[in-house]
Symmetry: C2
Subunit: 238 residues, 2 copies
Amino acid sequence: MTHSGRKPDEGERYRAILETSARLICERGYEGTSMQEIAAACRMTKAGLYHHIQNKEQLLFAIMNYGMDVFEEQVLSRVQGIEDPVERLRACMRHNILLVTRGWSKEVIIILHEHATLTGEARAFIDARKKKYVDFLEEAFAQASAAGRIRPVDPTIGAFSFLGMVLWVYKWFKPDGRLSDEQIADGMVDMLFPPVVAAATEGQPGTSSLRVVPRATGTGAADAASVAVPGAASKEKP
Amino acid sequence: MTHSGRKPDEGERYRAILETSARLICERGYEGTSMQEIAAACRMTKAGLYHHIQNKEQLLFAIMNYGMDVFEEQVLSRVQGIEDPVERLRACMRHNILLVTRGWSKEVIIILHEHATLTGEARAFIDARKKKYVDFLEEAFAQASAAGRIRPVDPTIGAFSFLGMVLWVYKWFKPDGRLSDEQIADGMVDMLFPPVVAAATEGQPGTSSLRVVPRATGTGAADAASVAVPGAASKEKP
DNA sequence: CCTATGTTACCTACCGGTCGGTAGGGCGTT
DNA sequence: AACGCCCTACCGACCGGTAGGTAACATAGG
């Protein structure tokens, strides 16, 4: 790591390892994925893999930092220049939902799911990076509240409601469902930040001007169908 | 199992095993918890534990069904009699948030976290129980939308927004944070289902009846503080 | 009353296999 | 010659799960 301009694949191999192991860990969970499997997926032996990484937990830590980099590039950096706090939140929600649904970054999903897997300093470091996002959202909510652009809400509650709606999506979204990710993004944005019909009377930007966008009804995007009861029913012991 | 009226503790022992193992699995994750540890926590040997259960996956399945029972008793059964759809949703959100924050049922948290751990029939069975809840929410949203009691929204998007806000709480709530669980419940309920001020012809109609929790400096509810950088920073390989 | 017979609830001891991780060597490039 | 890269071979610990035995207790027959 002395200077730049090494081989054509510089850190490419390492990046490939992160992405490959992220794919596996995303599918099977951190504890449920063995180093054997990760090495095989990288078309290496376990010892070969350990040439590139220190240990399993450091690998997870690297994956999560990689995921935070992707998030900041794909979401945060694209919206933090927006002046209007409501527009900032709307754009942020949209980008964040699409980041989850598109699934290009398994690393991001791992950050969401393995929120309590890391320990010690690594855990604290990732948490601190997450907290910067929470702070960003809280400030936007505070500004929007103060400006009367949204219904007044405690900024922390606003931020975590935002995050819950957006991030929970990874648990239920199916790309081939009734609702496209675009529809979900639009629907959630309109739900939390209703579009305002400008200047209902004049000057007064309060909630008086909340108007509604026409929308269809119907159901059916997610989860599984019903199935005959397996081995044991609810309360009885097998 | 010839007839009823057995020993005083009937299935008590089994229930205790479920609760004890739920506590451990909730702390360490399903894959991260060994049967050895579970048995020890039950003050048994592993073979003794296996006298009561079939295998590890069936144990998880039993825990999740137990959790669904608790949920239906503590939340669903208490609100599905409410006629007004908005009041039904408000009460449901409140009960569900408190079910998560109070943490009396680790089984419920396991259902939330281990959403993709089970496979096959057991997975489908739990998913079907979850789907009943989604259906319940979608119907309530559809009713509330149709009655003009809330801003029109696709019922599926409404239901999963609701669920995201409510269930994500398990990932960040700390009992000793700035916000109590009651405050969070109230705040989120008012955010998604604003109390209507009937016949507000002047002033700011929407904002008049709700107030924000007095706000201390900083954010304070969640995650961790900042910490010196551990072994490796963002992009560099260790 | 006292056995015979099950049944329940656990134990010790052990299974084959896999876990995360490492030592040390070969080999191609510089 | 030296280095990066990846291999074979192996480590001790632990994994989920089981075989087989035993102490405690309940019931039924005599």
